[in-house]
Assembly symmetry: C2
């Protein structure tokens, strides 16, 4: 049965179910009980009903309409994946966009009843929906796993073993992190905190697993009181040694499904801190014991910021990870050039697999940190291109090839993009390559006062491109986890305002790009570590150290577009890359890298 | 009687009054019924009680405490003016600042009663106070003009005549502006709008007067319905011709004090748009006829944005105003240099008066647009220095002199700062002069996409300074009115987020500076007009035209700190200034300007 028929069949089944339940519409979110960006198969409900595989989107099915709400990154992919189905794509993050709650409020009749799986939608998301529906007196009905009847072969919860991230990697024992968290919870007038975000739990308890592709997290909840700390996890995932190790840190375990009981058994006087932007609607509602929710302190989890500010052991670990990753990248780029020269048949997929394979050979390597974007020629014009299950395009000896990839290492997580020339380039390709690099260099060398936000810094990366009337439609930077998710908050670097300082110890990506539909795409991405530079009468001054180690190809550059300081920066960077990596490369690779990092003449 | 004794006496009288009224504290705001930044004498209540003359601050008097809340701009001035009084200064806009509502909430007992003059405090300001007092069950008592008994010689309302700003200056007749406003009011589901902000009323009705120093506004209210438009104004301020002219535009007049009656006579079904951030607490409360305030639409006035986007006639007018202003500035700078050479005795005050005098001779000149900041040497380290009634410092033949001034013209309002060398400079003075100028040039040449906010652009002006670990503690730019207030919203250019695009037709200042306590201060300020540069596949691109015409002295510059493009920009600017202004200068002035604008060698 083709996907199309499959989708049509599922929608038919779902509508029968809606009739049974007397629902006028259902909302199917793209997330799970842990508000994850990447999901285990068990919770890929949106994919089940629509076939859409992107990482962002919400499905709404009414009796007469099937809609997918997604953003610019996925317009093209969604159009392909939803072709020949009855799905309509509702674009988000474009002028005049109407999100699904507002759409429902305007399209549905009074007293509409909307079915949701409240275990897979954050509380605040559902509250927004309810607020939008208030004028038409709409009701939301929460039914956990309502799609299961349509899903006979629904996968079970992942059962990967959990391991402890040793202190030599984490830099701080779990009991110390828990103590510090308790203090924050107490200071906020609370007695307990409930955590459901997987990267927060993994960081806090220094545990890792492989429950979600690319993200070494553990499917679990955590409940922390002033005396006790409980990890709710499927029995069997934790061996005896890990159990003992956790116990030493004051952590007890309890079955994954027993969080609900634990919440109901909390003392009457308990006041629980939790993050309604992350905690599911179903569990949040189990917490409510007073109608005014006085027993709940709905607040961003303090773990988010703690986790983002890396300690010295983590920072040293990152240096090691970037060293391994740099060797892998250079080895890969060397291989790619030689294979092309030799006339080998290379596809986007085969090349990407080769890179994963090379990375996997590195010390402490734990797999890729996300699905590589391996994009040749016009495919690279899609910032989130995915060749899917196919081989993708064949690489030719001309134009630009873009590879955005990263690795997980016990000592850190990496994320790097390089755009490499495979042969002759068009003048526009060279211009875009040069101008996007100017943006990256401007942000790399930023000097800023304490208190500066990512929104301020974003401008520094864009202005060099804007001077040439060019822009990229995505953010400039995202936080990076420590052997955790490659995207993490709270900081980012983008035009949209976020009231979060860029702080010493944060790792953030720096990835300006330029995209030309039907022609080519360029992106240069390094990871930056924020550091204190100096202090004087004006305040504390911060700047960045570039952590990523992989040469930037100077051959596509239009030197006349570069300023002197940019040429110097580039020469310094490439020479630093060569000096650091060459001792770890083969003689042949090292010789090749000498040429690749040969300095440009300074005018 | 000295000011100190005066203040002590007033506080004693006020405390008696508080006893009579059974108030535990009073709040005395720094504004008037129109939320003005500059006030007529009649409403300078804060000055009466404290002697503080700054433009920003709130006084709180309790039975045991007298406090002034003000910000960084006025710390030094306030300390001087409040010396030997019982006043304590409470600093705002500093880390850990506690504003007066929070201070009252923490310092006062339960059931505290606070007296206010609600006719001189915006509704939202009082609501914030009430909210802060809620935990201690505090009450606010509104008593208009409660200070009058302490103020036997309280000045009356200004009685300056009103004149019409002709269409050749305004570019749009009042009836057209009113029609466009009616449409917006109607679209928001309202039947009426109440305006109390003086610059909004002056702009909407194309009327001007001299009711407030430097601000050519008319003390009045406006009530606009779908059919009628009423100007509430003291009878006698409007002559017969003006009355007729207004009538032609569909505007009727009514006595200033009769707004209250008019509001009470509104039909039951009226729904009134007003701006609770501007409208006084007293009048806002008169509007409330339902407890839920369903008859009020509390919303930023649509006039604010309309007024900020200048039409073509206004823009052409501005060009004329900047031409006149440039001639005045060059004439002044020439005079200053010659007088210094001749050994004349010059004080900050005498020099500033001379500039006002020269400006007043210009075509269509209508006075200064604000109190000039005329600051020599270390005085210039205070960004808002005011020599007060004294002569101020004597100018010497060394160091830097800063003059921040502006003019009102029928065709526009100007605001310019130049920092000029009076003789030998220290290396740090030259560095600061050069580096602050780099910030100004970076913003002047910005290229940005539609949708860019002032917060984004602010970074462009700061980064050149930050690269040298230097900063200024004020915003980079403010909107400028058209023959109206020199500070106007909604846009500004500063680090603090404001969700307002910089739009074509807006005029905004560009004024980076560097300040060294006890030594010197530098500021360079031009006015920028936002314009469309081009449109392409990435969007609509905007940039600035520098409107200000007055040479920038190149003699203090450290050329080695300048980039090639900066030298070119500066040469172009100075040559443009010379070519535009020299035909309007005397032969001698013109000869002098030739030297002053001689191009720097381009490396």
């Amino acid at each position: 049965m083709s996907t199309t028929n499959n989708v049509t069949g599922k929608i038919r089944q779902l509508r029968s179910l809606m009739d049974e339940q007397k629902w006028d519409a259902v909302v199917i979110s793209g997330t799970d009980p842990h508000n994850s960006e990447y999901l285990p198969e068990r919770w890929q409900q949106r994919k089940l009903i629509s076939g859409f595989t992107g990482s962002y989107g919400t499905v709404v099915i009414t009796k007469t309409h099937a809609g997918l709400w997604t953003d610019t990154r996925y317009f093209i992919q969604a159009a392909q994946e939803l072709e020949d189905t009855e799905f309509t794509i509702h674009p988000l993050r474009v002028p005049g966009a109407v999100d699904y709650p507002q759409w429902l409020a305007s399209e549905m009749q009074e007293d509409v009843v909307i079915g949701i799986d409240g275990s897979c939608m954050p509380y605040q998301e559902v509250e927004k929906l309810k607020k939008a529906l208030a004028p038409i007196k709409g009701k939301v009905k929460d039914k956990t796993d309502f799609l299961t009847p349509l899903w006979p072969d629904r996968p079970p919860l992942p059962m990967n073993p959990v391991f402890i991230l040793e202190e030599k990697y984490s830099g701080k024992e779990a009991h110390r992190k828990i103590e510090e968290l308790r203090k924050k919870v107490h200071d906020a007038g609370c007695t307990h905190i409930v955590l459901n975000a997987l990267d927060q739990i993994a960081w806090l308890f220094n545990i890792r697993s492989h429950d979600i592709p690319f993200n070494p997290v553990v499917i679990s909840y955590a409940l922390i009181g002033m005396e006790e700390a409980t990890l709710f996890i499927t029995p069997g995932k934790i061996g005896e040694k890990v159990e003992q190790s956790l116990a030493k840190q004051g952590i007890v375990t309890s079955p994954y499904g027993s969080l609900t009981n634990a919440l109901q058994e909390l003392p009457q006087e308990a006041r629980v801190m939790t993050d309604g932007n992350t905690l599911s609607y179903s569990i949040f509602n189990q917490l409510v014991i007073h109608p005014g929710k006085e027993n709940i302190h709905d607040f961003p989890s303090p773990v988010i910021l703690e986790k983002a500010i890396k300690n010295q052991v983590e920072i040293n670990g990152f240096r090691k990870a970037f060293l391994s990753d740099g060797v892998a990248m250079e080895r890969f780029l060397f291989w790619l050039e030689k294979e092309l020269e030799a006339g080998s048949l290379l596809t986007e997929k085969s090349v990407s697999k080769k890179l994963s394979w090379i990375r996997a050979l590195s010390e402490e390597a734990m797999g890729d940190s996300f699905q590589s974007i391996s994009a040749y020629g016009s495919n690279a014009a899609l910032p989130h291109y995915n060749h899917g299950a196919e081989e993708g395009s064949l690489l030719e000896k001309k134009g630009l090839y873009l590879i955005d990839s990263g690795g997980q290492y016990l000592s850190g997580t990496t994320d790097i993009t390089r755009t490499v020339p495979l042969g002759p380039l068009s003048p526009l390709e060279r211009e875009d390559y040069t101008i996007a690099l100017k943006g990256m260099m401007a942000l790399s060398t930023a000097v800023f006062l304490s208190g500066t936000k990512g929104t301020h810094l974003d401008m520094l990366a864009r202005e060099p491109l804007w001077k040439y009337y060019r822009n990229y439609g995505h953010g400039t930077g995202h936080g990076v986890g420590h052997f955790l998710c490659v995207h993490e908050g709270p900081q980012d670097i983008r035009m949209t305002w976020r009231d979060q300082d860029i702080l010493p110890g944060m790792l953030t990506s720096n990835e300006p790009g330029l995209y030309r539909e039907g022609s080519h795409g360029v992106r240069h991405e390094n990871i930056l570590l924020c550091q204190v530079l100096k202090e004087n009468e004006f305040g504390e001054w911060l700047g960045f150290e570039t952590m990523t180690l992989c040469h930037i190809d100077t051959s596509p550059l239009l030197i006349e577009l570069l300023e002197d300081w940019e040429i110097k920066w580039l020469n310094n960077y490439n020479s630093h890359v060569f000096n650091t990596l060459s001792p770890l490369l083969t003689y042949e690779e090292s010789l090749w890298l000498t040429q690749k990092t040969a300095p440009l003449p300074v005018p």
